[in-house]
Amino acid sequence: MTGLANFAVEHDEQGRGKLSLSGALLVSTVGEIDHGLEAIDVPLVSVDLSQVEEIDTVGAWIVCRLSQRHDVEILGASERAQRLLSAVHGASNDADIKPPVEPLWERVTGFLGTKVTGMGIGLVQVVGFLGQILIGMGNIILHPSRFRGRALVHQLELVGVASLPIIGLMSFLIGIVIAQQGAVQLSQFGAEALTVNLVGRITLRELGVLMTAIMVAGRSGSAFAAQLGTMKLTEEVDAMRTIGISPIEALVIPRILACTFMMILLGFYASVVAIIGGAVVGELSLGIPFFTFLERIKDVVPIYDLWVGLLKAPVFGLIVALAGCYHGMQVKGNSEEVGRRTTMAVVSAIFAVIVLDAFFAVFFTKIGWV
């Protein structure tokens, strides 16, 4: 019968020890005697394995280590034990298993340096990417037969038609919230009727397009980055190049055109649905009949509010598509990169859209569209 691992040290007259191990020296059992073995402080003269019933490489390793440390010979090893001992003896080494760690100051400065150079390289790459797109556009204008109508229609459907429900729902709810919250505040001045102005102007001018851009960035910009990134990883993009198809013309330009064009329609659609949401609140809780609300919109919203929204929309669409395609085409290496680039695409798109929106707000005010 096999017992658990055990050991005994027999002292001789000079104070040296004879170690004998017994039982099963397996990975499952040696953990308990390892500390005891480490704590042996008398010099050993021999290690006796004749009582050992089972042994595996971990047991052999422990024996091997003991015999090396005390420089003693191993007695009574079975044939199996000898085989294992010679196997692990050859494999002993003191390599590091943790990744090499640099000192803190080196890591911090290194991190900063990589960020700075990364930004520089990124800037050059963005400019390069824009250049590629311009060249691609130019080529398509010169050779209209190379234009991929089918791909464009497919992207129009994915970016535009497929996102109608979610953008509609979001805008409807935003319209409701603006009307409801606005009415609560305005009623303090007895000016509930101005809710119509609030809803009409803010959705057409700002929120309709802005919220749509954010939605499209999350829905389509991320998809662009992930699709193109995966295609880069699976070498589809390289395969295209070898066949003579420009990936910029085949993949990037249809997406950019689709996103730019669809943002105009989606932005307008979102504003309209938001106004309908506001009108529903008007009907239900403000006592303004639904159609009166819509009639009033026509009177209180200047037409240039519509232009403001519609002018911003394609710019935002372009930004979102550029960010998605750029980050997708930058993927290289492993699948982790796809996720990282997709996140970066969405974050940078939303950031750029909001910054640009601020510039637009100032610009349109300056030119008198207030």
């Binding site: 397996l26 390892d34 490489t57 294992l84 050859g90 298993i97 943790k98 990744p99």
Partner: protein, 285 residues
């Protein structure tokens, strides 16, 4: 009393004849039946090669045995313990006694190779001290034929062949009694593939492993497998040594071993036997 029993089980290696027994296995995915009444026994201490055309369910068989795929019917016993009666995540004490090498290596990408090897040790034997655990990880990495400095590298810094070896090191972490290898030589160059073959054989001989080896590599079959099981028609249609299989008249087996590639592998293996270069040897003795 219970503690004693656990202790004893912990300290004993499997002594029966068949560490893996599959009986009447049925696997289906929707309408598609992959295995129909499949039976297979793996002998202790052998290298069993499992071959079959693409889609005959070799990997599904392996996944069933290691409990990742719950079969529709049939029973699977590993070390005399029923896998099929256990709950998917129930610990029936067999996981610490087998090692699995997945096709792509399946290394944890955020850990270094050495830390990958430490994971099973940490999971099953937390009483092992940090120092000893690191020692074990180091020599397992060496034992798998990787260079010393590979232990501190991340899987993404390794080549395909080295990743396979690192996966093997992790599979060997607990000194398993049965090793499951899913196409260990697929995608390797012939030199790398034959190195892996030799390593598998060496490990089997030194550590007394039982190896369940899925392969498409005819050279591997000829070079290291003691027996070969052929999967076709949703069953294991034949198990035996290669000469025994050649004696059967199943068309697929004949085509497999007597096709041009099969012939070439056979020739090279007889050549190898007659010259006897490279006798398997454990390094370092």
């Amino acid at each position: 009393m219970v503690d004693d029993e656990n202790g004893l089980r912990k300290a004993r290696r499997f002594q029966g004849e068949y560490p893996v027994v599959v009986e009447g296995l049925v696997n289906r995915f929707g309408e598609q039946v992959v295995h129909d009444n499949l039976s297979l026994k793996v002998k202790r201490g052998e290298i069993l090669g499992v071959v079959g055309g693409s889609g005959t369910g070799k990997s599904v068989l392996m996944r069933s045995i290691i409990g990742l795929q719950i079969p529709a019917e049939g029973s699977i016993e590993v070390f005399g313990q029923s896998i099929t009666n256990a709950e998917p995540d129930e610990d029936i004490g067999v996981r610490r006694r087998w090692g699995v090498l997945f096709q792509g290596g399946a290394l944890f990408s955020t850990l270094t190779v050495g830390e990958n090897v430490e994971v099973p040790l940490r999971q099953f034997f937390p009483e092992i001290s940090d120092e000893l655990r690191a020692d074990i990880a180091r020599y397992k990495v060496m034992l798998s034929g990787l260079p010393e400095d590979a232990a501190s590298k991340y899987p993404s810094q390794l080549s395909g062949g080295m990743r396979k070896r690192a996966g093997l090191a992790r599979a060997l972490a607990l000194d398993p009694e049965v090793l499951f290898l899913d196409e260990p030589t697929a995608g390797l160059d012939p030199v790398g593939a034959s190195k892996i073959d030799r390593l598998t054989k060496e490990l089997k001989e030194t550590l007394g492993l039982t190896v369940f080896l899925i392969t498409h590599d005819l050279d591997t079959l000829h070079a290291i497998c003691d027996r070969v099981a052929v999967l076709a028609d949703k069953q294991v249609i034949a198990v035996g040594t290669i000469p025994e299989l050649l004696a059967t008249d199943h068309p697929w087996i004949q085509e497999y071993f007597n096709g041009p590639r099969g012939r070439a592998a056979q020739d090279s293996s007889t050549r190898r036997d007659s010259i006897e270069i490279d006798k398997p040897r454990v390094s370092g003795d």
